[in-house]
Symmetry: C2
Subunit: 217 residues, 2 copies
Amino acid sequence: MGSVSSDHPGIIELYGALACGEIAAFYRLADEARLAPHLHGRIAMARMAGSEMRHYELLHTAIRDLGREPIEVMKPYVEVLDAYHQSTLPSTWPEALVKAYIGDAIAADFYLEIASAFPDDVANVVRGVLAETHHSEFVKDEVRSIVERDKKEADRLRLWARRLFGEALTQAQHVLGQRDELTELLLTASGDLNHIATLFESMQGKNDDRMKTLGLE
Amino acid sequence: MGSVSSDHPGIIELYGALACGEIAAFYRLADEARLAPHLHGRIAMARMAGSEMRHYELLHTAIRDLGREPIEVMKPYVEVLDAYHQSTLPSTWPEALVKAYIGDAIAADFYLEIASAFPDDVANVVRGVLAETHHSEFVKDEVRSIVERDKKEADRLRLWARRLFGEALTQAQHVLGQRDELTELLLTASGDLNHIATLFESMQGKNDDRMKTLGLE
């Protein structure tokens, strides 16, 4: 793993990308909660969205501390996150749950893998922002109970989860193609191309673990 | 002003009503943010919704501390809050902003007026939950700038704000007609019927102040 200096111009880009991701996740959860068949589901999705906004506030402060305006730093990432959302619109409540549990985690896995290469203050922000929240317990229980009683639905959700992983990688590539400073940051943090291969394997492994947790192995 | 004992059965009802109000406000803000013409507006609405969820977490804990399940306590209030929302759907971004600023505040004024009659721990929860957040500064600035450059829009928004106040009172009456223990709590807290008249005058006064702040006097 490499080592990133405190004044790397990609750091502010990273904060912008993460902040935009939190806002996008917030609206996605609020929007997809409309598929919830019961009040319990609506409350759980709202609480998850509330966690995203707590994370957003951390990033908002971190961006301001670097003397920049959050909105300006976030703008370049709006389109790609919208594209991810549009390409993975769930049409059922179980799909929305799987997306809430697996979708965000993919990016989180990636950033957490490379966090130790960042200066301490940046690593702390990244870890604080991407920590899993206890609210996702609800999602686990709900998906497991659906999957256990309906084998066909389990098959559908397995394909759906794989598609989410694929779409996340596609959109990530778009970002990396467009944002030089962020890409340079991530390459420096990863160390070298060999390490990147290991990193992707590790992400794939964590994604598999998560699918197992949902009963989708 | 009266005095409410710690074991009044209306206290849990009050928490349920407030918790349901936070969830309803969360979804309303997320939903109405789609009227925002710019990213700045979408971020501001998401941050306000995030504040509602921080308040929800306080109530969630307070309800659990009384040995009850939040969802059960909230259920009776879902319908009336949906009704308020459905009867006050904004059709423009300025209407959404005025609703975000004025709508929630009406109920908050009422509860804060009577909070001193509650036992200390209950009063603390109520005050913590209903405190105004700094995010509404954005709403103030945005509405004032619209109102200053468009007199016709200002007239429309003035009528809209009055309608919000009227609808809030109508829905409050529905709640009071249906939930005996909550009604008893609020009457005990208010002291007597004379005091209720004073209380409504004070609420009207605060609503007028808020309209003035928005440039809608």
